[in-house]
Symmetry: C2
């Protein structure tokens, strides 16, 4: 056992922070034995003293003042579970500037200010670890950063938001509309009162930004990631997709083109026999293709107190090990010593190529399919499969189609033409295919 | 970029070693930039000089003498891809005693001599890394050792042998018998000329021994792991299992009981909706349950030149990073600083509890099912489901049954009684359920 304990200062005792405190207290003996160094939850900060009481923190551990803990010379590692951009950003930067290691689960912070934080960490030679920021307890950040580092990751697909996946799984299983399932999810605590951050894809885009930086060593600009949520997905489209052999999932997509990287977040049709189609409910998964390793899938619980605390404490153990060995900042935040502080160039969405699912709402009259096919053909888009459903009681009939691969820009132009046809009576529904 | 390059001495230029050489040469520039230190394939050893020529090794790199490379003071990391127990064991121990880091993909070696090798590494404070020894390119060893270290792993299930999984997938898809599919697999190079190491479960037991040591920090005795292969699996049982909603897979099973660990290797029925049921062909996966993280699945290619080289070079990068930071042996081989050199006690198979699939070959006469049920009941074993198939042209009729949970010892005793019944005309087929 080393002489000097490693002292943790924990900022925030909410869902994640409370879990971290509990884990550190419950397993102090085992974790210290694992490390060969005493690991101590020295300070814990929250605005609510009642949380400290509920957790049963030892006296002297609780503080109401984060800055006092950040500036405390005895604290070796600051764990930020405050969330949000400010004051989390200022706190993390201050901790780094004090020469402390930082563990954070804050994906919004890293997606927005990763460049600044990672540069500061490299300058001060301290460790910054963030396994819990993507995929909860799934060992995903460390796998990309270290274990798979010999690879050029050529592409990846991720299901990274448990709320969206829960809603889509439920809509698929029960045929219920989005709004109804969302309300159920809110009632059960699976979705926030203001769900837009999850269901509009923003949370997934944050995580994709972090994954992109791990894969390329450079940071994408968050605002430049094309992002679509799941609010427009209907049971009807889930059904038609099922008939064609697909599930609809909200995906984070990355295609590595070398200099440029194509990234996007949107709902997509995933074939039933793809492993990601089996990822149901609140689970998350990342499917990676590497030039040497081939396909890898990493799967687990993407959120929740206990899985997230598992990841945070895994990070604490790594930083504590480096501190005990006298090599803080041994690993740069993104693994690589190259590319320090570079901005990642993104490929324009217009050039993205994929297959599309389209549902046209057409008047029930001869020649409509021919007209649609003609417009698609004019932009070089060909049809793989089509079903034209029987006459409805009243109103338009759905024509459902899977296209062959097409450029995004061509698809959009073709759709503008198609939606202007007199026989097409509602805006066409388009969902990309994985 | 650091001043002093990290020099690799590679032992063996076969499937794995040749892949490692190629990857190190192809990506020397990128890997060195990633590390911030020049990474150099300095020496490579094989008995066949022609392999060095095929790979296009630079002059001066090839050597026919492993011992010369192991004793070369310039070599920092020895990569052992020789395979087998001796001389691999002697070479690895000699490299450690020379103060060199060691990377090995040799599961047989670690399963048999891990205790000795890991103790030597800790004494000499050098790193020993072995990601490629289990699950090929899947980041599995590092995840268990580091990322999930805050957890008590309560159980895990693994599909860890690509040959067996390929054979079972094929038998399931095509209804062909074991011997025929094995012959096909041999013709395609998916199975060895002598396949017993794979199909008898030995290779899976080696990998389970390594996983056990990562989970508990202590080494199980390889000979004490109950091991059954897939040679007795028939298309008939695959079919019946399918009717009940299961696939048959060769599983590595671990149940962590605290002081003792229950480990076993055998074919098992896996429910269709379990993720492991979707692991087909040559793919491998490990499904882990942790007390904080919950379920995690790690999936990828379990063998092959390129995935295995990806894992080996990932390990090289880790050891090289520690060398460059001046902290060789920063991480003990099993992660934990505790339990150094302890032997892991195993729970006796007799006490294992699971559900069973049984196929009885019975004379087609009334009262047989009642007799079988009575014998099971005498040992406290109850029946969950049963199907009695119609009369065969001639010969016995199959009675197929899933039991509720039962102790292994009770099940065996009941079967001895049942197989002695005059109405039961062939030894009963029993397969455990996952």
């Amino acid at each position: 056992m080393g002489d000097k304990p490693v002292k943790i200062g924990l900022l925030g005792l909410g869902t994640v922070g409370g879990g971290v405190a509990r884990l550190l207290m419950e397993k102090r003996r085992q974790l210290s034995a694992y490390l060969g160094v005493e690991l101590e939850l020295a300070r814990a900060v929250d605005l609510e003293p009642s949380r400290a009481e509920e957790l049963g923190l030892e006296s002297g551990v609780f503080s109401g003042d984060a800055w006092q803990v950040i500036e405390d010379r005895d604290i070796d590692i600051v764990v930020e579970t405050v969330g949000g951009l400010e004051p989390a950003r200022a706190m993390v930067l201050a901790a780094i500037n004090q020469g402390k290691g930082v563990v954070t689960a804050n994906k919004a912070l890293l997606a927005s200010h990763g460049l600044e934080i990672f540069q500061a960490a490299r300058q001060k030679k301290v460790g910054v670890a963030f396994e819990a920021s993507v995929g909860g307890g799934i060992p995903l950040v460390r796998s990309l950063r270290d274990s798979l580092a010999a690879n050029r990751i050529t592409s990846c697909l991720g299901i990274l938001n448990g709320t969206c996946n829960f809603i889509l799984s439920r809509m698929t299983a029960q045929g219920e509309p989005f709004a109804q399932v969302l309300a159920e999810a809110q009632a059960k605590g699976y979705a926030e009162a203001d769900p837009s951050f999850d269901v509009e894809g923003t949370d997934t885009a944050h995580k994709l930004a972090i994954i992109t930086s791990l894969i390329t060593g450079a940071q994408p600009r968050l605002a430049d990631i094309p992002t679509e949520g799941i609010t427009k997905i209907t049971p009807m489209d889930i059904n038609f997709a099922g008939e064609f052999g697909f599930k609809i999932k909200l995906l984070a997509v990355l295609n590595n083109q070398g200099d440029k990287v194509e990234v996007r977040v949107h709902p997509a049709l995933v074939p039933h026999d793809h492993l990601l189609a089996s990822v149901e409910g609140p689970f998350n998964a990342l499917h990676v293709n590497g030039d040497w390793v081939g396909q890898v899938l990493l799967y687990g619980q993407g959120a929740g107190r206990r899985p997230t605390a598992s990841a945070v404490v895994g990070d604490i153990l790594e930083l504590a090990r480096d501190l005990a060995a006298g090599v803080p900042g041994r690993v740069p935040p993104l693994g690589t010593q190259a590319n320090g502080g570079r901005l990642q160039e993104l490929a324009p969405l217009d050039n993205a190529v994929c297959q599309y699912y389209c549902r046209f709402a057409a008047l029930d009259q001869p020649g409509v399919l021919a007209a649609v096919a003609r417009e698609l053909g004019a932009f070089g888009i060909s049809i793989e499969k089509v079903t034209q459903k029987g006459r409805q009681e009243a109103g338009p009939v759905p024509i459902v189609m899977l296209t062959h691969e097409a450029r995004e820009a061509d698809m959009r132009r073709a759709l503008r033409q198609i939606d202007a046809l007199p026989e097409i009576v509602e805006p066409t529904v388009v969902i990309r295919m994985a």
